[in-house]
């Protein structure tokens, strides 16, 4: 029985199997909708029309997708080294400090494009620093990165609450958030990009960070598949033993990989802080870091897959908001369930449907080319 791991054509491996897993995840989500006493078909219609039915809807979908691209890339880079970074949420949260400091310090003096550069540096440094400690602990102390990154998520909530209350909150204000940035702290919207397709962005916060996310996806592709470091990262993830024999310094790769991962996670903060809220406030990441796990698993840790999966989850977020509006029994937490099911079927149960798909392929082949292909291959 070696069938479960038999080789499939690329389109089936990277297209068909993820789609089948996704469809099953959605069917079960539909059952949850039925359980909550609503019509799943109507919910699906509301979701798609809410996400893609208008220029504003598309703007929101892509705005959320921007967050998920960063989160997905962060998880994926670590995945390639065999590291499971559950701490993207906290790394993104702490990354917000870098963005906020850059914007609050210079928003009256510098133009947005310079602050944008400072925010990129600041968020990446803060995100990377937050990932450094779990990375160091994994590399040198052997503590499991999954547990430490989870702990760091919880620590980041406390740290940020304290920062927002004691550092960022203006005098005399009650809410734990910073003042609103001046014009230098606002990123331009991407109205023109949607206008090319004849769409009106409306009030959606779709902004320049989206292009930064696409650039990051390209750079991650270059890093992982076109650079020496990427080769070492993949070798370590594929076989730590082989990596060691090949003279790859395991500890260094773990640390560098996690710094990159945390840096990518930090970038996520720019999207909502400079692109939408124009201030730093509580819970601005709101679970996007965790969505990154589902996105990376579904996108098979490949940047193209991640961008596509991010748009899909962007649709779930935006469409989910529309559903919550029309169906009182369904809140946006539905997305968390869908997310969990996607992680379950695309991640833990990824081999569930493979045997039958492989068998189907074998049957097709032996049926069409029985004379040339030896049977039983």
């Amino acid at each position: 029985m070696s069938a479960p791991f038999a080789k499939l054509p690329n389109w089936a491996e990277y297209g068909l199997i993820p789609v089948v897993n996704l469809v099953v995840a959605f069917l079960i989500s539909g059952l949850v909708v039925v359980f909550a006493g609503e019509n799943p078909l109507k919910a699906a219609y509301l979701m798609v029309s809410g996400a893609f039915g208008s220029g504003e809807g598309i703007g929101y979908t892509l705005y959320y997708a921007t967050n998920f691209i960063f989160a997905g890339l962060a998880v994926a880079v670590a995945f390639h080294a065999g590291l499971f970074n559950i701490g993207v949420e906290g790394q993104a949260y702490v990354g917000g400090i870098g963005v906020a400091v850059a914007a609050l310090t210079f928003d009256a003096t510098l133009p947005w494009y310079l602050i944008f550069v400072l925010a990129i540096i600041g968020s990446m440094v803060m995100g990377a620093l937050w990932a450094l400690i779990p990375a160091w602990l994994q590399a040198y102390r052997g503590s499991h990165i999954v547990i430490t990154t989870i702990m760091f998520n919880y620590i980041s909530y406390s740290l940020m609450l304290w920062m927002l209350n004691k550092v960022f909150k203006p005098l005399g204000s009650m809410a734990p958030q910073s003042r609103t940035f001046g014009p230098g702290g606002e990123l331009p919207k991407l109205d023109w990009l949607l206008a090319i397709f004849g769409l009106d962005n409306g009030n959606s916060p779709f902004n320049l960070t989206f292009l930064l996310a696409l650039l990051a996806a390209f750079l991650v592709w270059v890093l992982i598949w076109r650079s020496r470091l990427g080769y070492e990262i993949r070798t370590l993830g594929f076989s730590p033993g082989a990596a060691r024999y090949a003279g790859i310094y395991e500890k260094r790769i773990i640390i560098v990989t996690m710094l990159i991962s945390g840096g990518l996670a930090g970038l996520l903060a720019i999207n909502s802080i400079m692109g939408d809220q124009h201030r730093i406030q509580q819970e601005f990441v709101s679970g996007a870091g965790f969505v990154g796990i589902a996105v990376a698993l579904m996108g098979r840790s490949h940047p193209i897959g991640i961008v596509l999966a991010s748009v899909l989850f962007g649709m779930l977020y935006q469409g989910g908001a529309e559903i919550a509006f029309d169906m009182p029994n369904i809140s946006r937490d539905m997305i968390v369930v869908i997310q969990g099911l996607v992680i379950l079927f695309a991640g833990a149960l990824e081999h569930l449907f493979r045997p039958s798909i492989v068998a189907a392929f074998a049957r097709m082949r032996s049926g069409s080319a029985a004379s040339t292909v030896t049977t039983g291959a």
Partner: protein, 324 residues
């Protein structure tokens, strides 16, 4: 006198707070000793708390609520077992998935059933564990200084589930180290190949361990929503599943140590509630946020091995493939 009351309330809180941690850590112990890492404990705890409170609210009966909590956690365990034992999927990914399903599912279903923003109605006295059990002679011994105080005011007067949780620690030790099942369980977590060669089913043993763990988390969940508080609130497990997991790691996967690590985390929790907003001599007032983060920070320090070295069961986290 006021001071003594603080000590009593902190220590009572310690005993109370440790209960869900102990039950959850024991669940993790059985699973990980058999070679299955269970990061989904947090989700199971939450789902069980929800199932217990909802069933108790519907039926008005505490035992039925408890049963529902256990069944729910066992069902989650079965999914985790199927993914990680039968399908040989990634155990951490599977556990993470279950956590999300529990976080989202409890809110969605809770909202649909009770329409109270993700909460269940407050449980009536009959529908929760309202009876505190006094230990024998608690009243007559109360007069003895110190020891009597400790016995009657701190150790006595808890729910039966509390005593049961503490009793489970020696029971678990006995099961693991003095029974055939325990021997096999430990063996399958260290070297499943050898167990398989001896003609014992690895799959069966692992399922037994994971499902048994489900029962314990179910009890822990019921304790949260039906004993400590009277009803379920959104996200009420608040990281306890992860803390229990950390306690398990720090306890080096040994039942006896679980008692001490869980008591320590329970103590920190109780202390933080009592000391919030109060100035401490020499240190001054510690920010609330630091108190909340303290168990997590401590866990990281413990995990870093600055206090001891954690050695997990050798085969934990790796699926067993028969023909290799």
């Amino acid at each position: 006198m006021g001071n003594i009351d603080i000590y009593v309330s902190v220590l009572q809180g310690t005993i109370r707070n440790s209960v869900p941690l102990i039950l959850t850590a024991l669940a993790g112990l059985y699973a990980e000793r058999s070679g299955v890492v269970d990061i989904g404990l947090e989700g199971k705890l939450l789902a069980a708390a929800f199932a217990g409170a909802s069933a108790a609210a519907y039926t008005g009966s505490a035992p039925l609520g408890l049963l529902a909590a256990v069944l729910c956690a066992v069902a989650f365990s079965a999914v985790h077992g199927y993914a990680s034992i039968s399908q040989r999927g990634d155990q951490i990914v599977s556990g993470t998935a279950l956590n999300f399903i529990a976080i989202g599912g409890t809110v969605i279903i809770g909202q649909a059933w009770f329409n109270m923003a993700g909460r269940t109605p407050s449980l009536a006295a009959d529908a929760k564990f309202s009876d505190a059990w006094g230990l024998p002679f608690a009243d007559s011994l109360a007069g003895i200084p110190v020891l009597g105080e400790i016995y009657s005011r701190i150790l006595s007067g808890h729910y039966w589930l509390t005593y049961f949780a503490y009793a489970l620690i020696p029971i678990t030790w006995w099961v693991l180290y003095r029974t055939r099942f325990g021997l096999r369980l430990r063996a399958v977590g260290e070297n499943p190949g050898a167990v398989d060669t001896a003609g014992i089913s690895v799959v069966r043993l692992r399922y037994q361990a994971v499902l048994l763990g489900g029962v314990f988390v179910g009890l822990a969940g019921a304790f949260l929503s039906m004993a400590v508080s009277s009803g379920f609130t959104k996200g009420m497990s608040a990281g306890k599943g992860y803390i229990a997991l950390a306690a398990l790691v720090f306890a080096n996967w040994k039942p006896k140590n679980i008692l001490f690590t869980c008591l320590l985390f329970g103590f920190l929790d109780a202390l933080s509630i009592n000391l919030q907003g109060k100035a401490i001599p020499l240190v001054g007032e510690i920010p609330v946020q630091l108190w909340t983060a303290l168990p997590y920070i401590l866990t990281v320090v413990l995990l870093a091995g600055f206090i001891g070295k954690a050695i997990p069961p050798k085969a934990s986290g790796t699926p067993y493939v028969k023909e290799r």
